[in-house]
Symmetry: D2
Subunit: 397 residues, 4 copies
C-alpha cells in the first residue's frame, strides 16, 4: 500500500479537482472523506461516486448528523455560545467533527497526510490544522488552495482538461458553508459593508417582514439538553431540525455582522441559524430561572471564553475540556420548559416552568403570602455600601 | 431653621402620604424633591403644588432629562450595558441621578436626612442608600415603607383621614417605573412566571406583531456618542426620545425575563426600552467595525462588570469610574454611521460606514485587489496550534 | 427530648460561658460540638469534659484533620488559592468543615438551632451562617456575641459568678485562629498598621532572619495531590504537617497584610502558613511545567474567583462546585516532582521533573538538537500583529 | 541618499557582524542604533565607535534610561505586572522602547527598513516586529538570524574573515538580556529543568543565603509613583537603581521558572529583578490600604491581562492603552509610605501609613472606640447567603 493522503471532500468543484491534482503533484493515492453534518444538498452516495470518478482510490462517506448535534451543537448550546455576542459558531463547530473523521480515516487507510481546501485568510484552515495537530500530531497537512495559490480559474481549467464529471458552470455567486446548526454566506457585493443583504442570500429562513400567523412552541430541557418540543420527545438533532423549520419559517436567526477573524482581519458575514438562536434563547431563559446568581455571573465569562476558543480553532484544547467541565456542573438543574412565541424574526420567551426553579413566588410576590423579611434589608444595604462610603469620605474630604 | 428631611417625591400616593407621615413621626419639616428623568405623566408644576398641599415645607422640582441622558444613559450606551445580557438598566440608571439631586437639596435646605419610598426587597433601596452614602456619607436615610412596614392600605387610610388632595382610587394594577431610557412593569399576574404578558402591560411600544411598513434609520456616532439621526443633528436626549418613538412604533425593545436581584431573590420583570435597545444595537455594530479585536474582547468583560455594578447600586463607586475610564478610551474611534431597519420588534443593522473603520476591503475581499498575503498563514497556524499539539502528544501518548 | 441547640465549641472562655448562658436565655439544652482541624492545643477529651462541666447536655468531639486536609486544604492547594494574592484562606477553609459537623450534630441530636461565637464585624459569622443556610436551610442560627452584644468582660463575670471550670485569667493578648493549614493572629498593637509584628506573635514559624542551614525537599504530586516528600509516601495531612515543621523551621509562610473583609472594612492581619505556602509554591511551578498555556491563563481567573468566593463565605455554593470542576480537569496531568530549597523565609523551586511535562527540550534548546522550525515564525508574527497594525494605520493616519 | 536600513545594535558580536552582512546582502547602507535602557556594560560612545568601525554609515546612541523608567517600568509597577504571577516583564518592557527609537531613527535617516537580531523561537522577535508594525506600519523588517538561519559560528567566521574589531573569543556561556528593571539569563545547563541555577548565573543580586544585617527602607508613593526612599526625593529611575542596589544586596528578586512563550513552547528562565520586586511588593501593599475592595478585585484581572498583553508583544495596541486608562484612575489615591525589611531574599512590608488610607481604625478595632455597628451584620449575612440558601433548599430537597 502506497502512502496515502486523506482529503476532506465536499463534492464541489474545488475538492473534486483536488483529488486528481494532489495525486499528480505528490504521486500518492487520495482517499476522499465526506461527512454529513446536516448541510443538505446531494445524497451522500452521489458524492461518494463522484469522488471515485474524479480519481479517488477510496471514498468514505459518513452520516454524522447525530454525532454533530450531540457532541458539538449541544455543548455550544449549553455554553450559550455566541461569538461577539452574535454568531453561534456554525462552521467553527463542524470543522472539529470533520477533523475527527479525517484523523480516523487516516488511521484506517494508512495515510500519513490529510488535505483540506481552505484558503489562507479564513478561520477554517486554523480549525482544520490545529485540530489535526491536536488529534493526530504525527499527521502532515497540505492545503493546496493556500500553499499552492490555487484559484477557481485554475480549478475549472484543470477540470475541463481532464473532463471531470463536474458542472463547472453551476457557479453560485455565493460562498456558502452550512450545517444543521446554521448557514454562513459570503459574497462579493456584501464585501461593501454599507450594502444590505438581499432576500436571495437566505435559504434557511423566510422573510421575517412578511405577514404570517405566529407560532408558539414549548421547549423542554433536561439538565441543559433539549428533550421535548410541545411535549413530544425529540433527539438533539430533531430539536434543531424542527426548530430550523419552525423558527426559520418565521424568519428567526438572521445575522449580519462585521466579525474579527483569528488571522487578524475583519470580515463581513451573513448567517442564518434559526434553530440555534431559538434554542439558545430558550436555554438562556431557563438558566435565568434555575441558576444561582454568582454561578450565572461567572458562567458568562466562561461562555465568552468558550466562544472565542472554539472560534479560534482550539476545540481540541485542554482549556475547552476544562470550560466544558465547568458548564456541565451548571446544567444539572437546567430542567424545565420554556414557552416561546416565534414570529416576525423573533423568538420571545413568554412562560417558564420548572421543578428546579430558584424563582420563589413567596419571596418575590408583593401580594399576600410574602415571606421576605424586609427587616434584614437595612443591615444588608449598609454593609454592602460600606466600602464605597468609606472611600467617599476620603475622596470628598 | 429646624432640622429638615429631604424626601424623594414622585407625586404618587405613597410619597404624598409620606410627606405628612414623616413630619408627624419625626417632628421635622419635609422638603419634597421631584426629578424629571423623562418619565412623562404630570407636569412638574402640578407635582410641586401637590407636595406643598400635602404638607411639604418646600418643594423643588428639576428637569434633569438632558443631565440624565448625557450623564447616565450615555455611559450605559457606551458600555453596551445589558444586565444578564438583556436588561438596559432603566431604573438602575435613574436612581443615582435622583440621589445626586437629593444630596444637593439636602445641602441647600440644611437637611441632615433623606427619605425614599422603596420597599425592602427591591434593588432601588440599595441604589438610593448606597448612593447617598457615597455622595453624602454624613446624611442619614429613612425608608418608611421598609423600616416601618408601611403598606398601601395604611397609606390610603392615612390620606383619607387627612383629606389629602390625592385620588386614592386611581390605582393602577401595575407597579411601574419609567424614564427616557425605558420602562419597568411589575404586576401580580406576572408573578406567575408561566403567564405571558398581555398588551395592556405595554406603553412605550406598539404591538410588534401588527403589520406595518418598516422604518429605516441611519444613526450617526461621534466617539461613541449618538449625534445624528438620518443626518439631522440631535442631542443624546433627542436621539433617545426620537428612537423611543420610531423604534417603539415598531414594537422594538420589549423584554420579559427572570432576573437576579441583589437582595438575593429572583424576580419576574417586564421592560420596554425601544430607544435604548435600538441605540445599543447600532453602537455594538459600529464597535464591531472600529474596535481592535483584543480591545473588543476585553471590553466585553468590562461591560458585564459595569452592568452588574450599576445594577447592584454601586454607581458612585471607585470601580465604576475606573471601568468608565477604560470604556472612554475605547470610544475614541467609534465614529461613523449605522443604517438599521426598524420593523416587527427588531432593529437590524444593514449597513455601516466609517472613516475610522478597521474593516479593510483589500484584506477582506476574495475578489481582485486582494492584498492579504496567504503565505503567512501556514506559520501562523502552526505556532498558534503548537501548545495544544504538544499537549496532545502527551495526552494521547 | 426538648428542642436543642448545637453550639460550635472551642474549649475557650467565650464558648464555655456560652453553654450556660444560652441554656439560661433560651431554656433549651445545649449540645457542644468541638472539631479538631489541627489547631493543636488541648486534648479533645479534656475539651469534651469541660463542655459537660460547663453545662452541656452532650458534648461531641471529632478528629477531622484528615477530612480537613483532603476535603478543604487540598481543593485550595489545587486552586493555588491566595486571597488578594497573599492569604491562603486559613480560617475560611475550616469554617465550612465545622459547619458540616454542626449540621450533622443537629440532625443527630434533634436540634433545630445552631450557635456560634463569632462577632458581627468579621468574616467568620458569614461563613458559619451562610454555610448553615446552604447545608441545612431549616436550621436557625444564634450568635450571642453579635446579637446580644456580649463582651469578654460580661463573660468573665458570668463565669466567675457560676464558678465555671475555666481559668479566666489565662488571657492571651492575641486573638488567634489556627488549624493545620495555618494560623491567624490579631492583636491591639497591630491595629496600628504602621507597627510591625514582633517575634512573640509567631508560633508556627521560626525567625527567618536567624542563620541556619538550608533544607532541601522534593515534593511529589500525582494529579495535583501531594503524595510524597523526599520520595516517602505521605497523606495530604502528613504533607502539610511535615512541611509546617520543615518550612516553619526555616521561617517560611509569614504574612502581614491589610485585607478587605466581606463586611466592608479593611483589617490588619498577620498569618503564618508554612506548609500551605511551601505546597502552593511547589504546585504552581509543577503547573507551569504541565499545564497548557491557555488553560493556565484562564485558570488564574478561576483561582482568583475561587479565593474570593471561599473568603466570602460561599464554600457551599453552586459556583464553588463549578469552579472545582474546572480545576479538577486541569489537575489530571499535574504529576511530577518539584525540588525546593527551604531557607531564610523562602521556599524556592530549583528543579522540576515530570513524565507529564509539556516542556520539550528539543523545542526549547538553543543548542544542537533544536527541532523548532524558525521559518514558521515570520508568518506567525505578521498575523499576530495584524490587528494592531491595521489599527495603527488608522490611528497614525 | 540610498535606501537605508536601521539596525537595533547592542555592541555585541551578532549585531556587529550584522552591520556588514546586511550591507553586503542588500547593497544598502546600515544605520546602527543603540539604546541605553540601563543595561550597564560598555560606554555608549565605545559602542557608537564600534558600529562605525564595523561599517555602519551612521551610528546613533541614546541614553533612554529615564524614558524607560518613567514610560515603561512605571506603568508596569502601577499594574503590578507579573507574567504568570512571577516575571516582571524585564525584556518585554525594553523592546517597545527600542522599537520607538528605531522607528524615529528610520524617519530621521530616511530608512524604509529596520533590522533586529532576534531568533525565531523567542518572544522578542514578536515584540520588535509587532511594535514596528504598530508604530510605523510602512516599514519593512528583516531578521537575519531568523530569516537567513544565521548561526553564531557563521558570525564568528564572518567577523574573522573581515577582521572586525570584535573579540570573538569573549564568549559568555550565558545568553543575557538586562536593563534597569531586571536581568534575564538563559544557558545550556539550565535547559535541563531539573538542574538548579548556580551562583555564577547571578549578577544583580548577592546570595540571599549568606548572613548579613537586614536593611530597612521606607518607600514613599504619590499617586502610584515612587517618589521617596527613606524620605529622600527620587526619580523613578533612581528609585529602581537604588533598590536594585539595596534589595539586590540582600538577594531579593531572584526568579527561576518554566514559562509559556507566545510562540507556543515552554522555556526555562532565570531572572533577577531586585528593584522591581521590591517596588511591586511595596506598591501592592499600599494598594491594599488605599483601594476600594471591588476596584481592587477587578484590577487583578486587568493586571493579569496587562502582563499577558505586554509579554505577548502588544505594547503598542489599543487594549494596552485602555487597560492603562483603567489603572491610572485606580492610582489617584495610592499615596503614602510603606516600610519594608529587606533581608535574606525577601522584601517584607512591616508598616504602612497614608493620608489616603481606607483602613479605618475605629471600624477595625476590637478595643474601645469601636464604631462598627454589629447590629447591621445579621441582615447582611442573611441576604448575602440567600441565593445559595434557596439553591440548597432545591438541591437537598
Amino acid at each position: 500500500m502506497s502512502e496515502r493522503i486523506v482529503l476532506a471532500y465536499s463534492g464541489g468543484l474545488d475538492t473534486s479537482v483536488a483529488i486528481g491534482w494532489i495525486a499528480e503533484e505528490t504521486g500518492r493515492e487520495v482517499v476522499a472523506v465526506a461527512v454529513d453534518v446536516g448541510q443538505g444538498g446531494e445524497d451522500l452516495e452521489v458524492i461518494r461516486k463522484r469522488a471515485l470518478d474524479c480519481g479517488a482510490v477510496e471514498a468514505a462517506v459518513a452520516d454524522a448528523r447525530d454525532e454533530f448535534a450531540e457532541g458539538f451543537c449541544l455543548p455550544a448550546l449549553r455554553a450559550n455560545a455566541l461569538y461577539m455576542d452574535r454568531y453561534p459558531l456554525v462552521s467553527a463547530l463542524s470543522r472539529p467533527l470533520i477533523v475527527k473523521h479525517l484523523a480516523e480515516a487516516a488511521r484506517a487507510h494508512g495515510a500519513s497526510t490529510v488535505a483540506h481546501g481552505c484558503t489562507g485568510k479564513g478561520n477554517d484552515q486554523v480549525r482544520f490544522e490545529v485540530g489535526v495537530g491536536a488529534l493526530a500530531p504525527d499527521l502532515d497537512v497540505i492545503a493546496p488552495v493556500r500553499d499552492f495559490a490555487w484559484t477557481r480559474e485554475k480549478a475549472i481549467a484543470w477540470a475541463e482538461e481532464r473532463s471531470l464529471p463536474i458542472d463547472v458552470n453551476k457557479r453560485s455567486p455565493y460562498s456558502i458553508d452550512q450545517n444543521v446548526w446554521g448557514r454562513a454566506v459570503e459574497t462579493g457585493f456584501l464585501e461593501d459593508i454599507w450594502n444590505g443583504p438581499i432576500e436571495d442570500v437566505y435559504s434557511y429562513t423566510a422573510n421575517p417582514a412578511e405577514p404570517r400567523e405566529p407560532d408558539e412552541v414549548v421547549v423542554g430541557f433536561e439538565a441543559g439538553v433539549p428533550v421535548t418540543l410541545d411535549g413530544q420527545k425529540v433527539s438533539v438533532l430533531q430539536a434543531i431540525e424542527q426548530l430550523n423549520q419552525r423558527a426559520g419559517g418565521q424568519g428567526i436567526g438572521r445575522l449580519d455582522m462585521v466579525e474579527d477573524r483569528l488571522v487578524g482581519i475583519k470580515s463581513r458575514e451573513v448567517y442564518e441559524a434559526p434553530g440555534a438562536i431559538a434554542l439558545i434563547t430558550a436555554h438562556q431563559e431557563l438558566e435565568n430561572v434555575t441558576l444561582e446568581r454568582e454561578q450565572a455571573r461567572f458562567k458568562r465569562q466562561v461562555e465568552q471564553r468558550w466562544g472565542e476558543l472554539v472560534y479560534d480553532g482550539l476545540w481540541f484544547s485542554p482549556l475547552r475540556r476544562s470550560l466544558d467541565a465547568f458548564v456541565d456542573t451548571t446544567q444539572e438543574h437546567v430542567t424545565g420548559e420554556i414557552r416561546m412565541t416565534l414570529h416576525g424574526g423573533r423568538a420571545v420567551p413568554t412562560g417558564r416552568r420548572s421543578a428546579q426553579s430558584l424563582y420563589d413566588f413567596n419571596l418575590a410576590t408583593y401580594d399576600e403570602g410574602d415571606l421576605f423579611d424586609q427587616s434584614l434589608a437595612k443591615g444588608f444595604v449598609q454593609l454592602w455600601g460600606l466600602p464605597s462610603k468609606i472611600a467617599a469620605k476620603r475622596d470628598l474630604g
